[in-house]
Amino acid sequence: MAAIGTPGRTATAVADDGWRPPRWAWPVTLLLALVGLGISAYLTDAHYNSSVVLACPDTGVVNCAKVTSSGESMIFGVIPVAVTGLGYYLVVTVAMLPQLWRNTSPLVRWGRLGLMVAGMGMVIYLVFAELFLIDAICLYCTAVHAITFLLLATVAIATVWTPLDDVDDDEDHDEELAEAGPA
């Protein structure tokens, strides 16, 4: 890994394979993570505080109460899914901080993507549970699922993204190599 200073912008760390985070990565992902964190906190509050009633229909297909009080709302019958979601989004929010996006360590870069892949796996299970086991859909849960999907998409693209000006940098580098001739 090396640090390359580009004229006109702050020096950005670059990974060994030339990757560096796109400038849109942290604002977009952090915003999504904060929205997901907020909804997860609301769902957790509603889980523990019976005076908090989710603003959501309680009849028909869309029935938040039916979902959040179902057997599937508890992992192994002990840990509320809402709490798991809140904990997950706390970790995700930290992972989307600009300081961690600037960190080009493979552990951070691919770990962040792994975190989103794991979250999406859980989302697919929860969607399955809502549709086929509980037979109801929770609007707030669906909002969190959608945000998780958008985060997966943006994080995945940002993880493999190589800015076009890096190609120009590489061309400069190629010229230098060509000047030096073959080893």
Binding site: G71, L133, L152, I157, D170, D174, A178
Partner: protein
């Protein structure tokens, strides 16, 4: 080797350098495009999985008219705690509540299990009246012992009243120093393929009791050690329709709610009956004004 390839030690001309740079740039652009396409393809794949789930669900519902699949899953601790932990003050305040019928005396050899008087329940998961009665029965039996592995489920959606959110005794374990309990759920709530699917099978002895003491053949059927029996729900369960497990559970400690009057009132009546077969043990459960008053009605109230 191409004529444009520089030889070792010789400085490449401007055209050669530009060509090499362009080739490498092209290669990098291609790599970048391939990586992004891979990611975009994967993301589309994930979206397709979710879309497929939704499509299957919509197709399934469309072909069957309405969903008949009913889940059976572990009961959330928050719900179990509420139904098994109704405060004593609420039990006293509700009293008989909105109970509509009490178990009737029957004659027979005392039904026992492991040396304790036995309560036999025969019902089915699809049955809405069983669904309502289970709430009361779990509350009553929890005063004498402990349930483990309770499940939650719903009564059939195409029955009336429909879709009562309730428990199932299908895998439940009950332990008590005073009374034994056997819960038999003869059928599930799954009516997707026609009649509800079979679940538990009555033993010959249970079938004999069911036939002898339940001449009407209705469920839920309760046999209290062959000393008392009841058939049908003890209260009007239609008030539970449209409520979730948590919503029902949350009203159990509100003595003026219709839910508490129905479920807790019925549970008090069942408790009074169970106390009859345990010789009023334990005392702190059976020797209360509420239970004593209900016991006086047991042989007279229809």
């Amino acid at each position: 080797m191409s004529s444009s390839t520089p030889r070792a030690g010789k400085k490449p001309d401007r055209a050669t350098k530009a060509k090499i740079a362009e080739q490498r740039a092209r290669q990098r652009r291609a790599d970048r495009r391939r990586r992004i396409l891979t990611v975009v393809g994967s993301v589309i794949g994930v979206a397709a999985i979710v879309g497929a789930l939704v499509a299957i669900k919509v197709t399934h519902n469309g072909s069957s008219g309405s969903s008949t699949a009913v889940a059976v899953s572990p009961a959330p601790a928050a719900v179990v705690d509420k139904v098994t932990g109704v405060p004593t003050a609420v039990l006293s305040s509700v009293g008989a509540g909105a109970v509509k019928s009490l178990p009737q005396p029957i004659q027979g050899d005392k039904l026992t299990k492991d040396g304790k008087p036995e309560v036999l329940y025969v019902g089915a998961e699809y049955c809405p009246f069983c669904g309502g009665e289970r709430w009361a029965l779990i509350n009553a039996l929890s005063r004498f012992g402990t349930f483990d592995n309770l499940k939650i489920t719903q009564s059939a959606k195409n029955d009336s009243p429909s879709d009562i959110h309730t428990f199932s005794f299908r895998d439940a374990k009950y332990t008590s120093d005073y009374v034994a309990f056997t819960g038999v759920e003869t059928q599930t709530s799954d009516t997707a393929a026609g009649p509800p699917a079979p679940l538990h099978k009555l033993t010959k002895a249970q079938q004999a009791l069911y036939t002898k003491y339940n001449t009407g053949g209705g469920i839920p059927f309760l046999d209290f050690a062959n000393q008392y029996a009841s058939s049908g729900a003890s209260f009007d369960v239609s008030g539970l329709q449209g409520m979730t497990w948590q919503q029902i559970a949350d009203q159990l400690d509100q003595p003026n709610s219709d839910v508490a009057k129905g479920i807790v009132g019925a549970a008090n009546a069942l408790t009074a009956t169970i106390c009859k077969i345990t010789d009023n043990n334990p005392g702190d459960v059976c020797n209360t004004p509420t239970i004593t008053a209900l016991q006086k009605q047991l042989s007279t109230k229809k």
